[in-house]
Amino acid sequence: MHRVEDDASRPAVELRGVEKRFGSRPILRGVDLAIGRGEVFALLGPSGSGKSTLLKLISGIESPDRGEVWLDGREVTSLPPYRREVHTVFQNYALFPHLNVTGNLEFPLRLAKRPRDEIHARVIAALSWVNLETLAERRVDTLSGGERQRVALARALVNDPQCVLLDEPLSALDPHLRGQTLALLQEIQSRLHVTCLYVTHDREEALRIAQRVGVLNEGRLEQVGTPESVYRSPASAFVAGFVGRINWLEAEVSHEGDRPFARLTGGAAIPLDGQKLPASSKVRIGVRPEDVKIAADGYLLGKVESRQFSGASVELKLSTDAAVLIAELPADGATPQVGEAVRVGWRPGAAHVFARDAETPS
């Protein structure tokens, strides 16, 4: 029924060519993904991109139409959820209201038929991971949202699973609790070295917690890489726009000699070194706000439309011939005032160039 592969470096979770459709609607269109043991992998994507379905394929609540699911070197594609050592932290926590905190934590241990004293020891340890020792006997409906979240986390971890799936775990929390919970999660993970698949549509959460990020769009993994590489070298215009704020400029490729240039609307020309693009093809150029600089030799002439000071940085809205640009400048330097005319530019490497046919978010 399921195959086993012997390999010490085998991934904790692996998807091979996974496809899934609901009716005629394709949800996942051929996803390949390997998550290493002890790794924190964030799956980032907009709602409807197939994130939750992908989680369900791994936990076993759904099964793929095509492709294979492997857990720790074992093929589990057709195994039901209770035969897989994968536990989920649900978005709404899904705690058992008829059991107290201890009862909730004992639930997976009793099903796994752990001996009585081991159950006791594991529950005590799990309570200490999430700082809930004093609430062990409380009914879960008397707990606050943050406390419930930590019970759900402890319940998913207590039976030492091969992988913990976190389905938008912070989305039901108050914003001020999210950072705290994220830090707690990171602390527990670094102590237990448990493999985590963290699903979210919040780019900040994903970039902060993950060792690697996968960006999912319309059922396809568009890019997998470290948070820095996904942010700094996005593989597509979608990824560039989804993992961070970005300014978009429309341009057409032209060659002067053998050096390619991008001719912006308004006439300014930007060198496209190292880019192989056919002449007169349409491109979009993306520049992140923090890469936009005020410089005497800048490519564009712009006028400061508005200026917002926020402590560490100043955000400027600049109107240029090519487009309206947002610039985020460090607040310690001298920043131009509203109405001032400035030259605007960026390092050559800071511009992300994509062929125009690629779709981009606004």
């Binding site: 039901p80 209770y82 058992f96 409380r138 039976n159």
Partner: protein, 271 residues
Amino acid sequence: MSRSRGTPWLASPALLYLVVFSVLPTALIVGYSFCERDFYADVKAAFSLEAWRQATDLITLKTLGRSLLLAASVTAIDLLLAYPCVLALARMDRSLRGMFVVLISFPLVTSLLLRIYGWMNLLPLEWRGTLPSVALVMAVNYLPFMVLPLLRAFERLESGVVAAALDLGATPWQAFWRVTWPLTRSGMWAGCALVFIPATGEYLVPRFIGEGHVNVLGTVIVQEFMERRNWPYAAACAVWLMAIVLAPLLGSLVAASRSASIGAARDREPT
């Protein structure tokens, strides 16, 4: 414990109603059961234990047992019919479920007598006048009272807890017994009470489907009051009926208040 001490007089109309139409008649019935029988008037105003001697003899106790057996069978049949029905209903989407709920409750808007006459024609001749056929017809009549509270409990079952149980290693069977069952049990008890309590005093179905062969407390009380004019004995039977209904009700009330006070005490503990 007294949370709302403010305006107890608001309860006085309801209290008055309760005293005049419930407490006084009940006291009267209990009083009658200790009176002497009078063939021409209702009762003689003289103390007698004759009615209770009769009400604790073998024939009455057998009738009592038959009433309990009938009510318990009806409750059991309804539970067996309602549980799978509700499992299916809970999985339907809202609009379809609403339609089925209306269909299930529909018998409640048609006359009970008409339905009984209908059943008298439907049942095979040899089934008439038997306890099982009485139980069958009563079970059909009471089915909505089992389905509706049970369905309510299933609708309140927080979405995701069953999926969470499966995810944490429960087989579908274990998920049912460890999560679905305990979380819907209260609805089941409510349904059982709503069926069992009126079923113990049922008169119409045993009278017409039983055709005089199925004697239960309900039929005996009517017979003794109306035909044999033995009011003290009929009153004693009515007290029996009340005791049957009240005993489990009081028991559950005591249990509920005890668990509530334990819960309250737990919540007061400093954390």
